[in-house]
Amino acid sequence: MSQIPVELVKILIALVAVAAFVGLNGLVLVYLERKVAGHIQRRPGPFEVGPHGLLQPLADAVKLIGKQLFTPKNADGFLFWLAPILSFMPVLLLFLPLPFGPKLTGMNLNLGLLLILAFSGLNVLATCLAGWGSNNKYGILGAARAVSQSVAYEIPLLLSVLAIAFQTGSLNLSEVVAGQGSWPWQWNFMVQPLAFIIFFVSALGETNRAPFDLAEAESELTAGFHTEYSGMGFGMFFLAEYANMIVVCSVAVALFLGGWNGPFFDGAWWFLAKVYVLLLVMIWLRWTFPRVRFDQLLNLNWKWLMPLALLNLLITAFVTKLS
C-alpha cells in the first residue's frame, strides 16, 4: 500500500473536489444566468420550482440526465460521442493549478499558466469534432466558426497573459498572486489595465460567450455545433461552457485582480467573490449586446486586440528590462 505516491492521491482528491466544485457552480451559474436575464428584461426569471425558483437548475439537470441519447443518422458515432467528453474532461484539469486560497491549490505548478492555456485549447478540438461528427450543416458551420474564432482570439489572450508573465517573471499562478498586495491599487490590474481589458475581451471570444457566441448563434445556426446533441451530450457542453467561464474568470482574477488577496482578510472568499463579480459582468454583457457579425469579430481581433496586445507587450518588455 505504501507504493502509492502521495502526490497521486493529492491530485485525485483535488480532481474530485474540482468535479464537485464545477457541478455545484454549474447549478449556481445556470440559476444566476436565468435570473439576471430575467431581471434585465424586467421579468422574474425562474420562479416556480422551489422558493424563488431555486431548484430550477436541479430540475433542468434531472431533465437533461433523463433524456434519450440520440445519434443522428450517418453521423460519425465515435467522434460524435467523443466530442462532449473531450470538451468536459480537460476542464477539470484546468482547475488544478488555480490558487483559490493561500494554501488551497490543487497542484502548485511552476508552469500552471501554461498548463491552463494548453489544455483550454482542447475545447476547440471538441467543438470541431462535435460539428464534424454530427453530419449536420449547422453543426459544421458552427464548428468552422468556432475554430477560426478561437484560433484568432487565443493570440491576444496569450499576449496579454505574457505581459503579466514578463512583469512578474513567473508562470506560477500562486506566485503571481502572492506578488500582489491586499488593496486594489496594489493589484496588477492597475499596472496593466490594457492587458486586463484585452484578456477579458479575448476570454469572451475564447469561451464562445455572447456577444461572440458565433459558434452557437441560435438565430442563424439553430444551435451551431451542438444542434444534434440531446440530453447529457448537450449537458456536457453546457457544463464545459460554464466551467470554462469560471476558469477564465479565475485566471483573470489571479493575474490581474489580486487573487485571494483582499482588504482585511486574505483568503479564498475574496477569490470567489471576485470570480463571481467577473462572471456577473460576463452575464451582464451577454444580455446587453447583440451578437457581432463574423467579419466584425475577426476585425476586432486582428485590427485592434492583436496590435494593442503586441504594443502592450513591447512596452512591458522595455519597462521590465529598464527597471
Binding site: R42, R43, W284, F289
Partner: protein, 195 residues
C-alpha cells in the same frame, strides 16, 4: 486625417457599449413588469386598450338588452366571418288582426303593418376565428359592440369559443343589477397589483 478619424470613431464607439450596459443595468434594478399569474391578476388600469373577445354594449337604461340595431354592418365588415346575426322578424298578426286589417283596407283607411323591430334575436360570435382586428367595432353605427377585458378566457373545448353574445349580455346585465341591489359594487377580485 481619415485614419485618425476612423480610429476616433472606433474609440468613441466604445462609449456606446457603456451606454448599453447602463440601460440594461437600470432595467435590472427597475421594478418588474410581469405578473405572477395565479397569485396576481391584472388591474383595470393595466387592461386599458386590451382587446379581449367581443361583447355587446347594453342600453344605458336597460343594461341587459343590447344597443344593437341588427344593421349587419359588423357582419359584412368582418374579414374572418366570425359574427352571425339573426334579425328579429316582424310579429305575425293573429287571425283577428289580419281580418281587421283587411276590413280597414277595404274601407280605404291607411293600414300600418307591424314592422320588424330593429334588434337581433341571435348574435353568435366565434372567437376561434376572430383576429381581433376591430373592423366590427369601427363599423358599428351605434357603438353596440366593443372589446371586452376578458383576459383569462381559456378553454380546451373548441365549442367554448362559440359565444352567444346576447345571452352573455343578459347574464352580465343581471349580475350588474344584482350588484346594484346589494348596493355594494363587487367587481370580481381584480387588481391585486397596480403597475
Amino acid at each position: 486625417m481619415t485614419a485618425i478619424k476612423k480610429i476616433w470613431d472606433n474609440v468613441s464607439g466604445l462609449w456606446s457599449l457603456v451606454v448599453g450596459l447602463k440601460i440594461t443595468g437600470k432595467a435590472f434594478m427597475d421594478k418588474q413588469v410581469t405578473l405572477h399569474y395565479p397569485r396576481e391578476t391584472v388591474s383595470d388600469s393595466q387592461l386599458e386598450g386590451f382587446r379581449g373577445p367581443l361583447e355587446l354594449v347594453g342600453k344605458p337604461k336597460v343594461p341587459a338588452s343590447p344597443k344593437c340595431i341588427a344593421c349587419m354592418m359588423c357582419v359584412s365588415a368582418c374579414p374572418s366571418g366570425c359574427i352571425s346575426i339573426t334579425k328579429a322578424k316582424a310579429p305575425k298578426p293573429t287571425e283577428a288582426e289580419l281580418q281587421a286589417m283587411k276590413e280597414a283596407e277595404e274601407r280605404g283607411e291607411k293600414v300600418v303593418k307591424p314592422k320588424a323591430p330593429k334588434e337581433p334575436t341571435k348574435f353568435m360570435y366565434d372567437f376561434s376565428l376572430c383576429s381581433l382586428c376591430g373592423s366590427c367595432v369601427e363599423n358599428c353605427a351605434v357603438g353596440a359592440i366593443r372589446f371586452s377585458d376578458n383576459v383569462y378566457f381559456a378553454s380546451t373545448d373548441r365549442n367554448a369559443f362559440k359565444m352567444d353574445l346576447l345571452y352573455r349580455l343578459e347574464v352580465k346585465g343581471q349580475r350588474q343589477e344584482q350588484a346594484k341591489a346589494e348596493s355594494a359594487p363587487q367587481e370580481p377580485e381584480k387588481s391585486t397589483k397596480e403597475g
